[in-house]
């Protein structure tokens, strides 16, 4: 037996395989335990009616999925996700691009600006939520205090308590916490822009906007697609900043699918139905990712 083990290790090819698997297996095991197993178990739970405590899970087939179709709270939450995806993607990418281009050619204090813009990114979304919850406080928050101090009392609002303003207010907080990431990645992408093309455009008489549209943005397409894909997925899965600031309120004004799922599964103890919601959320993420990865690959070709 020891001889066969010795021969195994004497074979370089087998030894390489063994080494490779030795590195892969722990990560694979973690992936199976913490991703694959919960994923399939969630699918199973989504086919049951269960309160999360009783020992028996009643199998109900696709009933939970049938109920999803007529669930107005789900559609309301998805519409908020859609708003988040659109505004929460366009705004940070646009701000990052604007600031990146502005600082690209080198300005005094470049490191300072880069640090300041990136600083909110290092904060956990929970911290961003707490900061902005305080900023929006109707009584002593800096936003209302400033408005009152300059005589604009009429504009002072209960930002997070107004059903029409709450979602845009949280999106603004989310954009603040995220645009620095877009800025830094775009800055890195700008270093690869071919300066000869910029110079050629200048010689051809292209103005700033034309250079941006026809030279810089095409040159950043891989970077922009990557950021956009990443941001879109975040928009589908957004949870923490909303939970910290409004918990989906006032009323249902800021519920997104993740907060609604959490509420249903853990607050209302409808774990089976909550699992069906989680599967829907996963599917939406998957579809969004697939579409944009396809676009990116097509762009690469």
């Amino acid at each position: 037996m020891f001889e066969s083990i010795r021969q195994f290790f004497a074979d370089r090819k087998l030894r390489d395989y063994a080494t490779a698997y030795a590195f892969v297996i722990p990560a694979l095991a973690m992936y199976v335990i913490f991703v694959v197993y919960p994923f399939f178990y969630t699918i199973y739970l989504s086919l049951t009616k269960w309160d999360g405590a009783k020992p028996v899970k009643e199998f109900v087939g696709l009933l939970n999925y049938q109920q999803l179709v007529a669930d107005s709270r789900l559609w309301s939450a998805l519409s908020h996700n859609f708003i988040w995806i659109v505004l929460g993607t366009v705004a940070p990418v646009a701000i990052g691009l604007f600031l990146g281009v502005l600082l690209w050619r080198g300005v005094r204090g470049m490191v300072f600006f880069r640090t300041v813009y990136f600083l909110p990114v290092v904060l956990a979304p929970v911290a961003v939520g707490i900061i902005w919850k305080w900023m929006y406080n109707p009584q002593f928050g800096p936003i209302n205090s400033t408005l009152r101090a300059v005589g604009l009392d009429v504009l002072a609002k209960g930002w997070l308590g107004d059903p029409y303003l709450a979602l845009p207010a949280i999106i603004l907080a989310g954009v603040w916490g995220y645009f620095g990431f877009c800025f830094v990645v775009i800055m890195a992408g700008l270093q690869n822009i071919d300066m000869e093309q910029i110079d050629a455009a200048l010689v051809d008489g292209a103005n700033g906007a034309q250079r941006l549209w026809y030279v810089i943005i095409p040159g950043l397409r891989h970077v922009l697609t990557m950021i956009t894909t990443f941001t879109l997925i975040l928009g589908v899965n957004v949870f923490d900043i909303i939970w910290i600031t409004t918990r989906g309120g006032p009323g249902r004004a800021t519920h997104v699918i993740a907060t609604y799922t959490y509420n249903t599964a853990f607050r209302e103890s409808y774990v089976g139905y909550g699992s069906a919601l989680a599967i829907v959320m996963g599917l939406v993420s998957l579809v969004v990712s697939f579409i944009f990865i396809s676009i990116r690959e097509r762009g690469g070709d």
Binding site: K49, D51, G52, A53, K54, P55, Y136, N137, P138, Q139, K157, G158, W159, L160, G161, D162, P163, T246, R247, G248, G249, P250, G251, R252, N263, F266, R267, E268, S269, Y270
Partner: protein, 404 residues
Amino acid sequence: MEILYWDQVSGDEAQAVIETIIANFEEAHPNIKINREVYTLEQLTDISRTAIEAGEGPDIMYYDSGPAYGGILGNAGLLLSLEEAYAAYNWDERLVSVSRDWTTYGGTVYGVGHEFEAQGLYWNKRIFADEGIEVPSTFEEMVALCGTFRELGYDPPMAAGWADWGGFPISHNWYNVLANSVPSDTVAAAISGEYPWNSPDIVASLDLVVGLVEAGCYDEQGSATSFLDGNAKFYTGQAPMMLMSTWAMQFFTDEITDEFGFMILPPIEGGEQTMIQLMGAVWYIIGDTEHPEETLTFLNYLVSDEAIPLWIEGAKLLPGVTGVDFSGYDVRPVYSDFLNLVSGWDGPVGYHIDVLTPANFNTTLWESNVELAAGRLTSQEVADRINAEMERAVEDGRHADITG
């Protein structure tokens, strides 16, 4: 041996009292050590079920009553039946009846209720005297007072904030209005799923809450103001009135110099003045505790004659015990008013809804009431929503039958 106790007592004075009670208990029982861990209700809801199932839960926990909280655990067989303990410790006689009634799930009693509370109207005696205003004797007078106080510059006339508790506080105000405008047996039938929540009488009670909003009673920023910030406007004299449970009395600290009055919600025309009584929270013993006898001994000590003065004078919380002579206690006048009111009350008793209704009903109710206050939903729409949730709960067997 050690007992793990999960607690949700809030307020500095109440925290000090429970620590004292534990120290006294340990002194009297040197072989038992109580390890107390403090959580919020939200945290307990999130972690208790999983922790107990994993064998990592406490021996005893202080959690809320009703199908949405203890009921989930009791019905899943995760709590220890206290039927024998009620007989052994004579709790049926020593404790108020709602202690058993509100902690019985599936025909078995699982808890001992604590923090016996009532809901009602607080008023600031100094402001009422300074402004020469009489305490309202009817609900309609109370609503009219909101306009009067607005004109006098009090903003808001009635302290409230429901930004962080998802509409929970404004819904409490509705429970009060409901109890005083719809007969208790009708409300009990609705809680039991035997009477529709979108019936005209219940819709009319929601209209009365809309009336409070339209009369300018609440802070216009109520849905952006946290519960404690909202209540603080009453404690600090900005708001002259507050509709709240007696739980709020623990926040009348020594720094607050104003004196306050407390009364049951003034009677609504066509209704009968009704006191909503509730147990703030409940002690449950976990089903798989390794030390049931010692934990029961500790639980009995928590409601013992030694602990009662500490609860009343120190924590300003009323234990759910019977036959207490309140006259000898050194407490704030407003608290003594409440104690006397409770001990002398012989009128009808109403229900605190959300401790008896299932969680899906509660979250829908709270969310919808915020939208009601914001004018985004009508009373009928709110009633239709909660009725649909009750029908769902009945179908799933998650409701409480309190009429049987």
